[in-house]
């Protein structure tokens, strides 16, 4: 009797703890969205309004039309998208070739190359900021989205190869050998056998890179001097540096920036764990 009661009360305790974790995790996100949907009267009050009394889309309308700094958010969204897609396009192409080399060929320096990838992945970008800024400046790439694209390729490539190589290795070699026996060239085999089978992995890897570039702040912040070149994180940083912060507009901007990342993230989250913890987790 007592054992049953004990088990039931521990069930209750566990579920209560779970609810506490859920509230702790969700509340800041909820608060971001709810602030974005509140009227200014509900935002700027000493008595906190938990759930908006009347939902308004005014903040969203405002940031997309006149914008916080007299520039519509569309410009920043466009900049962020251009940089992220550009970096993903170049990065994924290079990563696919690199991953194929590592997963399909045995060559000298292969192990050293993989170890170098691991180390390079961990080089703090914050430390590279200074030399890369000077290099970009001297190459005339500051204030240009192209400069950001190039730098972001370098930052996403090592992890992309590291992740993609397991996808390439998972494609049975026999398939390619069969195609080659049938007379297909190396290139043909790559295009019509390997590529379609690796495509899902390539999508997952690209999403990762996309999220990384989309979120990147410090380089976009230092390299882009003109407002018209700001990416989303830089625009947001700029909005909260102004006198009398318009929290409704800021939270609406933050929501717009976050939503695509959350959607993408839910797709690839599983691989994130296996990519970073590598062989440590085998589930």
């Amino acid at each position: 009797m007592r054992a049953v009661a004990g088990r039931r009360s521990s069930r209750v305790a566990i579920n209560a703890a779970a609810i506490a974790v859920i509230v702790f995790s969700v509340f800041p996100v909820f608060w971001m969205v709810s602030t974005a949907l509140k009227t200014n009267e509900d935002i700027f009050t000493t008595d906190i309004v938990l759930v908006p009394t009347s939902v308004t889309w005014a903040h969203f309308r405002e940031i997309f039309t006149e914008g916080i700094g007299n520039t519509s958010l569309w410009i920043y969204l466009r900049n962020s998208t251009v940089v992220a897609l550009g970096a993903v396009l170049f990065g994924s192409a290079a990563a696919l070739l690199g991953a194929t080399a590592v997963a399909r060929f045995r060559f000298r320096f292969r192990a050293s190359f993989l170890i170098m990838l691991l180390i390079v992945q961990m080089v703090p970008h914050e430390a590279l900021l200074i030399p890369l800024f000077v290099m970009a400046r001297q190459a005339g790439l500051t204030n240009r989205l192209l400069g950001l694209v190039i730098i972001n390729v370098a930052f996403t490539l090592p992890f992309a190869i590291w992740m993609l190589r397991t996808f390439v290795a998972a494609v049975p070699r026999e398939l390619e050998e069969a195609a080659e026996i049938d007379g297909a060239s190396r290139f043909r085999t790559f295009v019509s056998i390997l590529f379609p089978l690796v495509a899902p992995g390539l999508v997952a890897t690209s999403i990762f890179s996309f999220i990384t570039v989309w979120n990147e702040f410090i380089f976009a912040f230092t390299l882009m001097a003109d407002e018209s070149g700001y990416t989303m994180p830089v625009a947001l940083r700029w909005f909260i540096a102004r006198e009398g912060i318009d929290w409704g507009g800021v939270m609406a901007t933050s929501t717009v920036m976050t939503i695509p990342v959350i959607i993408f993230f839910l797709f690839v989250q599983r691989r994130m764990v296996s990519g970073l913890v590598a062989g440590a987790v085998k589930g």
Binding site: I130, F133, L236
Partner: protein, 332 residues
């Protein structure tokens, strides 16, 4: 490092041998193929990661100001930049901030993450899915959004934190925190409350990754082991230290090192919460390096010297990460 490199070197050697005598004869063209495939990657890594590292080393011994950034030759100053930072109170304060923050944030993240991982493992299907998805919201948010939201939660006027503290009985907050009236209290002026909010924001975002990793590890442990421990009379505490922890040690090792690396170089969140570079007492190493390099007039040489200190610390920690991964992954 050399040790692991050597070991994997011999491993590679052994594997290469049979491949060479394999069924398909390889011409010199196929032997070149992997290098051609790697060429774009090598160019990018060499040009945008290794060369800048070299430039950073060179710049740390130079006086690099506005004119030098424009391309005029920089004057060498020897070790003067390093002498300057090592004798600067701001540097030691930044180093203290960095290390103390990392120590607190990493421990809090690992403890909370592990507890939540263990919790999810014991929950029913619906509840565990709900917890995983909610924590994932925090995990996936861009750093800039996280920083902005926590800055707003702790805002002096409209912030939820000050409102909550005002709801609590005055004698309680007065006794615990030395303040009863929280209206208009600013969290972002002094380093201590500032770093408190920073820790909250960083732990909030980082614990889900630990939880999910620990959960994946827990699922790989056969249930009979926990059963056996329970039969032996072990409670949850002993069962964790005698079954879970020893088996998941490699996972914890990697998570620990990754967390240290991430928390050592926190930049975006601090930049937002501290409101830029105006408050030297709030610097950590990455914000300090940035501040020296990009203040006006810029002192890129000095900034490089600080960045090198940060990079060297992280490199030492990275060696542990690489060793751990190489041991498990077999770098095949």
């Amino acid at each position: 490092m050399t040790d692991t490199a050597l070991r994997s070197g011999t491993r590679r050697g052994r594997r290469t041998a049979p491949a060479r005598g394999g069924p398909r004869p390889r011409g010199s063209r196929t032997r070149l193929t992997p290098y051609l495939l790697l060429a774009p990657t090598l160019v990018v890594i060499a040009g945008l990661l290794l060369y800048p590292l070299y430039r950073m080393l060179v710049m740390s011994t130079q006086d690099v100001g506005l004119r030098e950034i424009r391309g005029e030759p920089a004057e060498s100053v020897g070790a003067a930049n390093f002498r300057e930072i090592l004798t600067s109170e701001v540097f030691w304060q930044a180093l203290r901030n960095t290390v103390a923050f990392a120590a607190v944030a990493v421990s809090a993240t690992l403890v909370l993450g592990t507890l939540v991982g263990l919790l999810i493992h014991r929950l029913g299907r619906v509840m565990s899915t709900t917890v995983v998805i909610s924590t994932m919201l925090a995990w996936s948010m861009p750093h800039m959004s996280v920083a902005t939201v926590w800055r707003w939660l702790f805002d002096e006027h409209g912030g939820v934190a000050n409102w909550l503290l005002n709801q609590a009985p005055d004698w309680l907050t007065g006794a615990l925190l030395g303040r009863a009236d929280w209206s208009g209290y600013s969290w972002f002026l002094d380093p201590l409350p500032l770093y408190f909010v920073l820790t909250l924001a960083v732990v909030w975002q980082s614990f889900p990754f630990i939880a999910v990793s620990v959960l994946a590890g827990l699922k790989s442990i056969p249930g009979e082991l926990f059963e056996a421990a329970r039969v032996d009379g072990a409670g949850p505490w002993r069962s964790f230290w005698q079954v879970t922890f020893p088996l998941l040690k490699p996972v914890f090792a990697v998570l620990l090192v990754l967390s240290i690396i991430w928390d050592f170089k926190v930049f975006t969140q601090l930049h937002v919460l501290a409101g830029g570079i105006g408050n030297p007492a709030a610097y950590n190493l990455s914000l300090y390096a940035y501040a020296e390099a990009f203040r006006s007039p810029p002192r890129m040489g000095l900034g490089s010297a600080i960045a090198i200190v940060l990079a060297v610390i992280l490199l030492v920690i990275t060696v542990f990460y690489v060793r751990q991964i190489v041991r498990q992954e077999d770098v095949r």
